[in-house]
């Protein structure tokens, strides 16, 4: 179940916490990467990072919340689990409202943490799959000629061949030919599939 491309990134200023967290998660078979501050994580961050981020709320300099905001702004889709201390719960709730994946309060039970990690990684996997699928459909769409994509848009909009021919000022036969090529290039067999593919991307 563990996708080998997924990594658990731990950001915590307490050395003991980082070390124990690594020990625990590696024992579960995860790949773990630790950072002692939000700044060092930002420095190392890449767009294709996959997995999840375990973030301590209280840190000197940039706090976990601030890092989360920065990542949001950068368009990161990495799921985030906040680790909060006593009294930080309202802070964590507000982070959740802003799109964080989850939070866990210290001291925590390791099963709680692990189940949250599992959920976060599943979310990450879904997001990543969608990115890939969208990428494939986009690729196919790019291969359409301009006229074909015009025809396709009208087809998807539910227009009949005759209407399309009138609108684009071409013959019915040409429309049929374009339509057949669109279905072929998009790798779909039915109109329903075509509509689904286009709607997914858009």
């Amino acid at each position: 179940m563990n996708d080998l491309t997924q990594t658990i990134y731990v950001v915590d200023d307490d050395e003991a916490m980082r070390d124990s967290m690594t020990w625990l998660l590696e024992g579960e078979g995860y790949v773990v990467a630790c950072f002692d501050s939000a700044e060092s994580f930002l420095k190392a961050r890449r767009d294709d990072m996959r997995g999840c981020l375990i973030l301590d709320v209280r840190m000197p300099e940039m706090s976990g919340l601030e890092l989360h905001e920065k990542l949001d702004a950068l368009g990161s889709e990495l799921p985030v689990i906040f680790v909060t201390g006593h009294g930080d719960v309202p802070m964590a709730v507000s982070a959740l409202q802003r799109g964080a994946c989850d939070f866990i309060e210290k001291p925590f039970h390791n099963e709680d943490l692990l189940s949250r990690i599992v959920r976060a990684l599943e979310l990450d996997a879904q997001l990543s799959a969608r990115r890939q699928r969208n990428g494939a459909i986009s690729h196919r769409l790019d291969q359409l000629t301009q006229r074909e994509s015009e025809v396709m848009k009208l087809v998807v909009a539910g227009k009949l061949n005759k209407q399309i021919a009138d609108e684009l000022n071409i013959s019915m036969k040409t429309v049929e030919a374009h339509r057949a090529r669109v279905m072929e290039k998009m790798g779909v067999r039915t109109l329903a599939e075509l509509v689904k593919a286009v709607v997914t991307v858009n």
């Binding site: 916490m17 070390d19 124990s20």
Partner: protein, 799 residues
């Protein structure tokens, strides 16, 4: 229709300026001069005419005189010739008495002026008389006097002589024509023709002549002999004199022409001219007076007109006259100014007028119909009209009938006032009043104003009415507010005794309970001068029931807090320590869980497990230290005073304070001199004081720049018994009044503070017989000082 047109014309004339006044010149003298010249010319003309007439008369006279002279001369010559004939016959003795009688008688009858022809001897004795019947002379009559003298002269000179004039028997003037007769040198006698001068004139001159002229015969001595008229003409302008030189006599004939119409006649034209001139002059003077009067009246009229015109033009009120059909006949400058139309664009226009905005047509048409029907309201119409530029503005229009000079109504006069500004002001005032009322009514304090003398409520806001009833205004204040009113003896002054010059004046400021509702009010009452000048009491009552309640609760809370303050401080500290405990506990849990997983899976290396367990054990120890420290802090019971080095205390306190210090970037500098003596204190208590002071200092510098966030701790020995420790920050400092109060319980300058920290600190220090005080730092910030006792030095001073 025609009447209306005429009326409009009248009105237009009324409004038009009169002709300008002619210049005051000497021109008015011209008629007088003309009249004078004319009169003079007429007089000259008349004189000329008269002179000419006179001339003509004189010419005629001269002609007549000439003729008369010739006629008389001829007659006399005829008489002389006849006498000469008789003489010659006598001389030659050819003449007999009878012949003489015949000849002379016949001649005398033919010439009536010859009264008789006589023959006298040289002595003057009449011998013959012819004709016989003559009564003038009788035969044998002796000539006497002048007649005889003339005869003798004639005999002597031997030529014809005419005697001087004499009166004959009938007393009529007569003279003798004497012809001496000689024969040889002897005188025979003389023939004498007795000639009546009157008859001479009568026979020689025709009647026409005598009626036309007055004739006077004068003798040689210029004595009047005869006159044909008893009336002597006074005017001798046309007169002449004929002088007939008779031998030895002279017959003078004065001729004066009778003037037709009398002597005054020539003066009539002149008199007439003068009279007419006088009349003309008088008339002219009257005329001039009239003209002057008229000019004066005109001048008055012009002044009045100019005044009215100026009034009309300088008025800021627009004036508009319309005839009975609504046609505009006049507009003044202000009206043009207001509407922006020229007079020429308005006069003669019938409704709808060009300054009517299209959207107001119906209303304005209705207004003008009402006005023309004579039913315009006395308060005028308020309407919105339009300038030429299209801008709308509000006016008020008053109508009044326009009465013409003949007393009949010729139209309607309307005065127009621009009320845009007054309307705006009124609206502003209304709004201002509305705002005032809104604000006053929006107050939750009850405000009312009552007359000092009568107690009548003049004004009450909504809050007041809510409490005391909505019909309060107009009622007696004492009755309405009986349930909640300051007793008279508590008033600062008797309101009825306050003079006008003492206003405004405080009356009451205090808290009262409403006897019916039980609410508490803070009443503030003053006497002021009301808008109409009388003295009134203004009372503002604020409902302080809630505040009073809160005050009570606060008081109770304060008491409770004082009791539990120490506990609360400990709780805070425990919370802080619990937070620190989270870290080692979480780490231990992780290590253990990791070990368990690996051992369950059976996939592990013993060295890894050992290392992890070792780390877990280290973390457990870390947690233990924290717990111990916490236990030390919360440990109850009597203070445990023991000798302790200040450095140790400070280091332990810093461990806590550093958390906040790092978070805020504050630098804590501990500057302690060497070989400070140990102090005898309860370690936890003094740590608490230090922590409190550190935290205060850090918070005090939260709004100064980071580089200034410096907290300094210093210590010095004051004397044998006490050590002074100072904690100085460079923060915002304390206000002077705060320095007095910050040690009071529940006084705080911090937004979230409880206000008990420093109070407890002071209690702790005083428990140690020390002192805690605060001073402002010269460079800005605050310095806290406290003193604690020093260990009484025994034998081991080296420690």
């Amino acid at each position: 229709m025609a009447d209306a047109a005429r009326a409009a014309k009248n009105l237009a004339m009324l409004m038009r300026p009169p002709l300008p006044q002619p210049k005051h010149t000497r021109l008015w003298l011209a008629p007088y001069v003309a009249i004078g010249v004319f009169a003079l010319a007429m007089l000259i003309l008349t004189a000329l005419l008269q002179w000419r007439e006179l001339d003509t008369a004189r010419s005629a006279l001269e002609g007549d005189m000439h003729w008369a002279e010739r006629t008389i001369e001829n007659r006399l010559h005829a008489h002389q010739d006849f006498l000469g004939e008789l003489g010659r016959e006598q001389e030659f003795k050819q003449l007999t008495y009878e012949a003489f009688q015949v000849k002379a008688g016949r001649y005398a009858r033919e010439a009536p002026e010859i009264q008789a022809i006589i023959w006298v001897d040289t002595d003057g004795k009449v011998e013959w008389v012819a004709p016989n019947e003559s009564t003038a002379v009788f035969v044998g009559e002796q000539l006497t006097g002048e007649r005889l003298a003339a005869l003798q002269k004639a005999l002597r000179v031997r030529t014809e002589v005419v005697s001087a004039d004499y009166r004959d028997a009938t007393q009529r003037p007569a003279h003798d024509i004497i012809l001496p007769v000689q024969r040889g040198s002897a005188d025979l006698g003389a023939f004498i023709a007795v000639e009546s001068i009157e008859a001479l004139l009568r026979t020689t001159l025709p009647t026409v002549f005598t009626t036309r002229y007055s004739l006077t015969v004068v003798d040689a001595q210029n004595r009047e002999v005869l006159s044909n008229s008893s009336v002597k003409p006074t005017d001798r302008q046309v007169s002449g004199q004929i002088s007939l030189d008779l031998p030895n006599n002279r017959l003078g004939l004065n001729i004066v022409a009778y003037r037709v119409g009398g002597a005054w006649l020539p003066f009539v034209p002149a008199a007439l001219i003068i009279v007419l001139t006088l009349i003309a002059s008088v008339t002219l003077i009257q005329l001039r007076r009239h003209a002057q009067h008229r000019a004066d009246t005109e001048e008055e009229l012009r002044t009045a007109y100019a005044f009215r015109q100026a009034m009309s033009q300088s008025l800021i009120t627009g004036l508009r006259a319309i005839d009975l059909e609504g046609r505009i006949t006049f507009v003044n400058a202000a009206f043009c100014r207001m509407t922006g139309f020229d007079e020429s664009e308005l006069v003669g226009i019938k409704p709808p007028y060009p300054y009517w905005p299209p959207e107001e047509f119906d209303r304005l048409q209705n207004n003008i119909d009402t006005a023309l029907a004579g039913k315009a309201p006395a308060s005028g119409f308020e309407m919105r009209i339009m300038r030429k530029s299209g801008e709308r503005f509000d006016v008020r229009l008053y109508f009044s009938p326009l009465i013409g000079t003949n007393g009949q109504q010729i139209g309607w006069m309307a005065s127009m006032n621009d009320i845009t500004e007054p309307k705006r002001v009124r609206v502003e005032l209304e709004r201002a009043h509305e705002r005032f009322v809104t604000v006053i009514d929006g107050l939750d304090s009850a405000v009312h104003v009552a007359d000092v003398q009568t107690g009548e409520i003049l004004f009450a806001n909504r809050a007041f009415q809510n409490i005391f009833g909505f019909d309060a205004v107009g009622q007696n204040s004492a009755q309405v507010t009986a349930a909640c009113r300051p007793p008279p003896e508590q008033l600062a002054r008797d309101p009825q005794q306050i003079g006008a010059d003492e206003l405004p004046c405080e009356l009451f400021d205090g808290e009262l309970q409403h006897t019916l509702s039980g609410h508490w009010y803070h009443l503030h009452e003053r006497a002021i001068r009301w808008v109409d000048g009388r003295t009134v009491r203004v009372q503002i009552g604020a409902d302080i029931t809630d505040r009073k309640h809160i005050d009570d609760v606060n008081l109770q809370q304060q008491k409770r807090l004082e009791q539990t303050s120490r506990l609360i401080t400990m709780g805070e500290m425990a919370s802080s320590l619990a937070h620190e405990l989270n870290q080692p506990l979480s780490a231990i849990a992780n290590y253990c869980a990791g070990c368990v997983k690996r051992m369950q899976a059976g996939n592990y290396r013993i060295d890894d497990i050992l290392a992890a367990m070792q780390k877990a054990s280290d973390q457990a120890e870390r947690a233990g230290k924290i717990i111990r420290r916490m236990r030390d802090m919360v440990k109850k019971g009597d203070p445990n005073r023991q000798p302790i080095a200040l450095e140790e205390l400070v280091d332990e306190t810093r461990a806590f304070a550093d958390i906040d210090a790092q978070r805020t970037g504050t630098q804590i500098v501990v500057d302690l001199p060497d070989n400070l003596p140990k102090i005898v204190v309860d370690r936890i208590m003094i740590e608490q004081v230090l922590l409190n002071l550190f935290k205060n200092g850090i918070e005090a510098m939260s709004d100064v720049p980071v580089e200034r966030r410096l907290l300094t701790l210093q210590a010095r020995r004051v004397d044998e018994r006490m050590l002074e420790i100072t904690v100085a920050d460079q923060g915002h400092g304390l206000a002077e009044e705060d320095i007095e109060k910050i040690f009071a319980p529940f006084y705080t300058t911090k937004a979230e503070g409880m206000g008990i920290g420093l109070a407890i600190c002071r209690s702790i220090i005083e428990f140690h017989q020390g002192r805690l005080w605060v001073e402002p730092r010269r460079e800005g910030g605050t310095v806290f000082h406290f003193t604690v006792p020093i260990e009484e030095l025994g034998e081991d001073s080296n420690e």
